[in-house]
Symmetry: D3
Subunit: 238 residues, 6 copies
């Protein structure tokens, strides 16, 4: 029995509030249960030095966690003077995931930065961030009024893991901290894999375990794609 009483293949409630802030070209507050991440998409008419004059755009991401998003207060990274290895690993993953579904030539010579700030954490912050970043990116790209849509697919992410010998979907914090294996999958709505990361924490796993986790991820991402669609529809009719 999962701590939350959920079935093994049951997601937490997914909530997406589009246009959560006024200044960003795109934004949303995404929730996977008690995990809440504010994502903003900022469009700038410039690209990083390595792309200048190539007629291509860039999509990148930054990730942060408010000091008291967690059960006990963590030190503020700005005060410590550096971002942790975990932060850097996550923001690199978010950027890669979004770039996998965008045609950078069609975007044109501009940069979109996705800032993902965790307001409240209860497991799965990186997967909520990726899923919300797609919504913010979609809204920001809508605003550009481009002739050809540079976004080629939807992208969503979800965590799964092996907890008490059971493959479970969308781990919350109590599960995450006790899981034997912990995986994150980033999938497109066409069923393709963008990123698969599966890590043994307490015990190694085998090929069958990996495939079971992937199948759970497909279920979870299906629900997230639906929530993304609904949020975009609401935002466009608002």
């Amino acid at each position: 029995m999962r701590p939350s009483g959920r079935a093994p293949d049951q997601m937490r409630a997914i909530t997406i509030e589009p246009h959560f802030t006024r200044h960003a070209e795109g934004s949303c507050l995404i929730g996977f249960g008690d995990t809440r991440v504010l994502v903003t998409a900022s469009v700038e008419e410039r690209v990083p030095p390595f792309l200048r004059g190539k007629g291509e755009g860039w999509v990148t991401a930054e990730y942060g966690m408010l000091p008291r998003a967690t059960h006990t207060r963590g030190a503020r990274e700005a005060a410590k003077g550096k971002q942790s290895g975990r932060t850097q690993e996550i923001q690199r993953l978010i950027g890669r995931s979004l770039r996998a579904v965008i045609d950078l030539k069609a975007l044109g010579e501009r940069q979109i930065t996705l800032d993902c700030d965790v307001i409240q954490a209860d497991g799965g912050t990186r997967t909520a961030a990726i899923s919300g970043a797609w919504v913010a990116l979609r809204l920001a790209v809508d605003g550009l009024g481009l002739a050809v849509d540079p976004i080629r697919a939807k992208v969503a992410a979800v965590s799964c893991g092996i907890w008490q010998d059971m493959a479970v979907l969308d781990l919350d914090y109590p599960e995450d901290s006790a899981a034997d294996a912990d995986a994150n999958f980033v999938l497109t709505d066409q069923g393709r894999i963008v990123e698969a990361q599966a890590t043994a924490e307490g015990a190694t796993y085998d090929e069958e375990g990996l495939l079971r986790l992937l199948r759970l991820a497909r279920i979870g991402c299906g629900e997230i794609f639906a929530a993304q669609d609904a949020a975009i529809a609401r935002a466009r009719t608002a």
Copy 2:
């Protein structure tokens, strides 16, 4: 005529949503118009080295701004590797303001950290932060169940300025960026001054100007005290 159409002594709408996050001992989302600051109060059963073994507590604050809280995206301080002078100045002010109304001996040997993170900025972020920090502190102290209440007074803060030769209350961003003088007052509900800071931006000012700004601040803080009371009442009955 003010850009927002407000009267010179008119505050923007004040909104305070208590217990905005789950993990912090106290929290609120405070809004002065479009300015929105998330404040959390974290209680830790330890004090900084200089206070160890003295039987006194400590109250301190940290301030941050999400990269896209502003009209154009600013660099993330955690990524730059240091906090700006402005950030440090503001967080020192918040901490001082709260310490002015708390009896640190009565608090006991524990530390309360007020994290003030600006979700959306439209002028007055530091004054909203101080005003919201008092609410978060109040809620956190309530939860300690102390025999003697260490909080001796309410504290609130508001900005005022001289804009187009007119003394105006609670500057929004368009006023703030064009003001000739810019002041922040931190006041107690007993009418005392905790901090007064008045800076000439485009033009110097005189004693009468200073007093007129102080009188506006009294009006604004009166409204904030009422909003704080209402928020605490709602939180206690919830």
Copy 3:
């Protein structure tokens, strides 16, 4: 009775030694009693990026304290790898104060940096720095031989505070560390206010208290303006 035996409205001895160093375009060693600050003004024929090509100059300041300027040795900021919040707050105040009395268009596209280094500290280092910076700036601008003088007024600064229920002028270290309220005023010789900052340390204060402090500051700044005049006169006839 003040520790130094001074009357409540009595400044410490003000000493200003112009042209204290050889290389700087303007410099002085200013003393408020035992507090001694070396100020140099450096003229550079370039402006910060945000001003390039606008036909305007810039005036900025940096502040530092030698490790053993104080009663006990403090860590060297260069060795710690960062400037404290206090240092940044003070250098921002010095820069703002000087910019309030200079016509940046008339200065032309050049930058003047005021380096204020505390050789010995006994309270009031920031106000001595501002007062000395005006002298160094005056000497540096004299050397530019501009047709129109960009300096529109003199500026001086002094601290005052409430110490043992008495409003006193120009706090020395023993007073400063025991004051109930602590204020710094930056005034022009035309009687206008450039900056007012009054902070409750041990006890809050009221409007009348604020005004009494401001009146003391006018007395103190009057004496500083006279000392600035005398120093400039000596420098010009040397």
Copy 4:
């Protein structure tokens, strides 16, 4: 046809030179073709603060690349003053991989640090580092003379990828920089998975693609396990 002329499931030559340096408790120079990584294992009789007094040991890793290990010189991280996100990601992976096969209780209250420094890079530096780290760890643990061997399995890592629509094993730099998908697998000699990471670079992939990469990884790791065995045997008889 692969640039190197290798068959799709063909590893590069694996070379392992044990005890490459004198001072470390364990060390080796491992080569996967032209990629060469020097790994040292340092035993220290202390553990990180979070483990003190728990009767458990710790295994951790650091990774670095000499500035001219690569085709063009990269900036020295010590001179830049920080480790890149890539470096941190890799060293976290190495540490996790080794901890998956060691019984930290049986190790006792001591720390083993695996320093993996890339002398020459031609793709696959992180997988060579993990594979070599196991050898250095084995040699260092041998030297401890523990009654119960804390190492529960061998661990090896290899990269695979989809290059020109072909699944290939052990990518060298020309393949790595042109691959559509890029994966790293960390496996035990009992056939279990410790870590699987598969990233779409130019094109997303599907479940069948993921499985084909995993099967290649099993082939590669089999060869690495044999090379590790041979190296350990040589070291023990030397």
Copy 5:
């Protein structure tokens, strides 16, 4: 003919003003011509971790240069966030030089820090710093009232160089920036060498050149020892 008109073996005027600041246990302002360095000696009743409980003291030094000590303004190291290689090299040399003449056991378990801050630079700042540091150290040790004097000798330092094929003593800035070879010698009043550093700048030199420079250094240090004696005598009788 030297730019200053001095003879090859002629020092600049040596000035030493003892007790230049109030708070430090020992201090002086030392001048070699236009080079002026403020040195303070701070006594602290603690030693660095590596010496704790060994019954020995420690002497160390820090060096800094005010931003406008030089002809053109240099960036403030505290603002840049790190000390340059040159700064670290010099402060290591100063510390080593003083430790060479002090009996750390006789000093007892305390630390003396020599802060050497260059107020004005015209060549030879490190040698002036060492020579002044001895005076500050002497005064600070006098104040400890130890039964056995831990200072075993006087130490002084001077630069010499090969300038236009001529060996010259005590290089000023115009000579220093054009010298073919540049040396610094640290000598004791017993004629022993503490440190010799001779660097080819524009041209290499030979053994005879090295010896000629050493002979000049003996002349210069003789004059510095006399100036140190006179300064200490004045300080003791004051």
Copy 6:
């Protein structure tokens, strides 16, 4: 009797393996006994800002030590976020030593960076680094195919010291840590001195001592020049 059984004027075995790595324009692994330093020379067709457009090249060096090059593991400088004073002092010395024998005009507007990374340390790492850097530089310059050879001389470096009242050549770690005086000499094959640094550690020394150390250095450098010649000859015929 020296710990290693060597005669006072006896060098350790000198080994130089040219072209140790593939990517660098020049490289070698140099050994002085158990001290082993990997040196690479990287040619870049750009110069530092202060040389742009002057038709001159630049030669610079960086130095590092792998964490476990030493008897006990040292912290990684990249992880600490800064290079130690010792590291900076050494890399400045290496750069200066090489620049003393190269005609920067003849080199043309390009930069050669010598990366010296200590693989294993047993005393004399800086002198091995300089001696090996000359070999790497020679190989890199050979590859440029310049009409006029910019290298004007060979350069080599060796340490000597006073150990148990005996002047000894090429100190290993046991001698280095117990020496009374410690010197490093950088010499050209024409017998000229590039740099002489002699430091009293436990006891001061006199002129005769300095000369005896210099004479030992001439013997040692003679052997190093022969080893450099042999290595270059092998590299050219390979």
